[in-house]
């Protein structure tokens, strides 16, 4: 077999260019009382997809704005109901929340279908074939079980969700394959907890030391309580700031490095430290500019995440052929977005 060179994904979007598209989108969305936001979303996706190229060809997005608008209206009504009714009547609010939670796996499944069906590369569409039953098992039963076991099963649940999404996805007629076991997921979270314990122990001992040498004004009998307090707050802040970029980077690497499309492999090399820098800078600048930096932030993060993934071809990538297409509605995707219930894809 001949060796094929790895093909890095490229991203050619620029912050200034996207800012102009973004601000026109925002303005028109407000003027049309939100109706244009569906068209704006298609534009945004098309901008990011078309600027993403692999081996000389770009991706494309084909979502129908009218379908997205319908989904947005349903999602908005449900969400508004939930937040407003919750203020008047907690029982009714919880009932709506329950309905939303029970519908969520189905919505997520539809959302995956819509998103992949409307993504193309080299004129061939992606697609998602996951079943409803498996969606309920992976997106509802497993998370509930992991909550009941105080999160012990969460890495396993996450591995199953990733496997469900990957192994039911196709490009053309070719299925994706997924090899990561749950052990690798447990290792990522174990490392996170380990870092947390280290930070806690470090802070605790330093406060104890400083206190016993009377460098900080604490009475002797309150020293332990004081150092536990400082260490807990410090650990909480450290994990809050560090854990998300760390886990996000590690998960993306894990998922891509264990994914195959036909004979072709992938490679992701994101660094938690660089992710942290980008995310932290993005949040800070977005707040300082009252939100105006947001489009630049989106571009920056997308560039980092896209350009650190590569395709490792084993043979020609010209041989994919079109597969059967599925129908899809946009309702799922909008709901999933509204309720901030996203899965790492």
């Amino acid at each position: 077999m001949t060796e094929y060179q790895s093909r890095q994904l490229q991203f050619s979007g620029s912050g200034g260019e996207y800012f102009r598209i973004w601000i026109v989108n925002v303005c028109l969305s407000i003027v049309t009382l939100g109706v244009y936001s569906a068209w704006a979303k298609v534009k945004r996706n098309q901008y990011f997809y078309r600027h993403t190229t692999l081996a000389g060809a770009s991706f494309d997005y084909h979502g129908d704005p009218k379908a997205i608008l319908k989904g947005r209206i349903v999602a908005f009504l449900l969400f508004a109901c939930y937040t407003l009714v919750g203020k008047f009547d907690q029982v009714a609010g919880s009932a709506i929340l329950l309905v939303i939670i029970v519908a969520m796996p189905w919505l997520l499944m539809r959302s995956l279908r819509f998103r992949l069906h409307n993504t193309s590369y080299r004129g061939l569409r992606f697609a998602f074939h996951g079943s409803t039953g498996a969606a309920y098992f992976n997106f509802l039963l497993l998370p509930v079980l992991s909550a009941l076991t105080l999160g012990l099963l969460w890495p396993l649940a996450q591995q199953r969700m990733a496997r469900y999404t990957r192994e039911n996805s196709t490009y053309g007629s070719e299925f994706f394959k997924f090899f990561a076991g749950s052990g690798a997921y447990y290792r990522i979270y174990f490392m996170t907890i380990f870092i947390g314990v280290l930070v806690f122990a470090g802070l605790m001992t330093s406060v104890m030391l400083l206190g016993s040498k009377e460098l900080i004004p604490v009475e002797a009998d309150q020293l332990v309580a004081m150092s536990v307090l400082v260490a807990s707050i410090g650990t909480y802040l450290a994990l809050f700031l560090l854990a998300y970029p760390y886990v996000a980077a590690r998960l993306q690497n894990l998922v891509w490095n264990n994914t195959q499309l036909g004979p072709h492999g992938f490679q992701a090399q994101l660094r938690a430290r660089e992710m942290l820098g980008i995310m932290f800078g993005n949040v800070l600048l977005t707040l300082l500019t009252l939100g105006l930096y947001k489009p630049f932030a989106d571009i920056r993060l997308a560039r980092y995440r896209i350009e650190h993934v590569a395709l490792l071809p084993q043979g020609s990538i010209d041989d994919f052929v079109a597969g059967l297409q599925t129908n899809s509605s946009a309702a799922g995707e909008e709901m999933a977005e509204m309720f901030d219930f996203d899965i790492a894809l």
């Binding site: 050619s12 979007g13 620029s14 260019e17 996207y18 800012f19 102009r20 598209i21 601000i23 026109v24 925002v26 303005c27 028109l28 407000i30 003027v31 534009k43 098309q46 901008y47 078309r50 600027h51 000389g56 060809a57 770009s58 494309d60 969400f79 508004a80 937040t83 407003l84 203020k87 008047f88 009547d89 907690q90 193309s120 590369y121 080299r122 004129g123 061939l124 053309g172 949040v283 977005t286 707040l287 939100g291 105006l292 990538i317 010209d318 041989d319 994919f320 052929v321 079109a322 509204m338 901030d340």
Partner: protein
């Protein structure tokens, strides 16, 4: 004129390098092993989007990607171009859109939102309002509030005083009053979103006479009359929702802080209107308006000495009588009447 492009037939991922040219109303596509001649009308040409490649989509799923945007625009006389695409490419339009967006947001925030909140508040059914206040007490009776320590008689006297008040036309009964004690909230009274008025023991004890308490109750009834608490709650919910949606991926924690900051803008106007309502009610009942000014002064003094104890978590309680910067101005205006 010829244009180089890459063609995909929609059935296989193989790229076909091709050349394009326009012949009359037809597009001619030629490659090594492919020739297509298609009516221009039957093709879908998406508008340009930033510096992304230009595209030609065929009805049968075929697709052309053209990197040369300039040449594409010249050859096809900018088919598929739209007004929006033109705006997206110009910094002047971007600036105009930015200014328009900011002014629209300001108008919505200053006028649209208060108006919508008033319309909605007037349409919330009474039973829902009562339920809201019950829920409010149910959640706070275990934490911030405790049973009133005032004597039964004292409470009855105050209730009677309130019942005897001559109400302005349109009001059929005085507000429903609940007495509670609260060491953290101190001397205070609150108009709740559902229309009940919460009176704290310390306020009753602080007042030198019942007329001062009635003055405070009249002020709170002004809030109830115009549904201030409900309107403010609705406005804050919408602002919070919008913030959470916009910041979304940053953290919903950050969305809370600005909401609280933005909220205070409403309460000044509301205070003025509640004071006006109270002044009218007091005058109609032969009670000097200065009684309200007296108790406001005492509250201001009480809260300034107890300032460090002020809990931050009383946002839910819509703390109207706490030391707003405009209390002095309010006292001055009440004394002037």
């Amino acid at each position: 004129m010829w244009l180089t492009a890459v063609y995909y037939d929609g059935r296989q991922a193989r790229p076909h390098p091709v050349t394009l040219c326009v012949e009359g109303d037809k597009l001619l596509l030629q490659g090594r092993d492919i020739v297509r001649r298609e009516e221009l009308n039957g093709l879908k040409i998406p508008p340009p989007l930033g510096s992304t490649p230009r595209l030609i989509l065929f009805a049968d799923g075929g697709r052309c990607e053209v990197a040369d945007r300039q040449g594409f625009a010249e050859m096809l006389q900018d088919a598929g171009n739209s007004a929006v695409a033109g705006m997206e490419n110009s910094w002047w339009y971007a600036l105009a859109a930015l200014l328009l967006t900011l002014s629209l947001l300001a108008v919505v925030y200053l006028f649209g939102l208060p108006y919508a909140a008033r319309v909605v508040a007037d349409r919330v059914p009474v039973y829902l309002l009562e339920r809201m206040d019950n829920q409010f007490f149910a959640s706070l009776d275990q934490t911030l509030l405790m049973p009133s320590k005032l004597a039964e008689e004292r409470r009855h006297t105050l209730q009677d005083g309130l019942r005897r008040l001559v109400l302005p036309p349109g009001e059929d009964r005085p507000a429903h009053i609940e007495f509670r004690g609260s060491p953290t909230l101190g001397a205070n009274a609150f108009a709740l979103p559902g229309g009940s008025v919460l009176v704290l023991d310390d306020l009753v004890n602080l007042a030198s006479n019942d007329q001062e308490i009635l003055a405070v109750l009249a002020h709170e009834m002004g809030h109830v009359h115009e549904k201030h608490a409900l309107r403010q709650m609705l406005q804050a919910s919408v602002v919070g929702l919008a913030m959470a949606w916009y910041i979304g991926d940053v953290s919903s924690l950050l969305a809370v802080a600005p909401t609280v900051l933005l909220q205070t803008r409403y309460s000044r106007d509301f205070e003025r209107r509640a004071d006006a309502f109270a002044a009218e009610l007091l005058r109609a009942n032969g009670i000097p308006v200065s009684r309200l000014a007296d108790i406001l002064e005492k509250l201001e003094a009480a809260h300034q000495t107890a300032a460090p104890k002020q809990p931050v978590e009383s946002v839910e309680a819509l703390d109207y009588l706490s030391s707003h910067p405009n209390t002095e101005e309010r006292i001055k205006r009440l004394r002037g009447q």
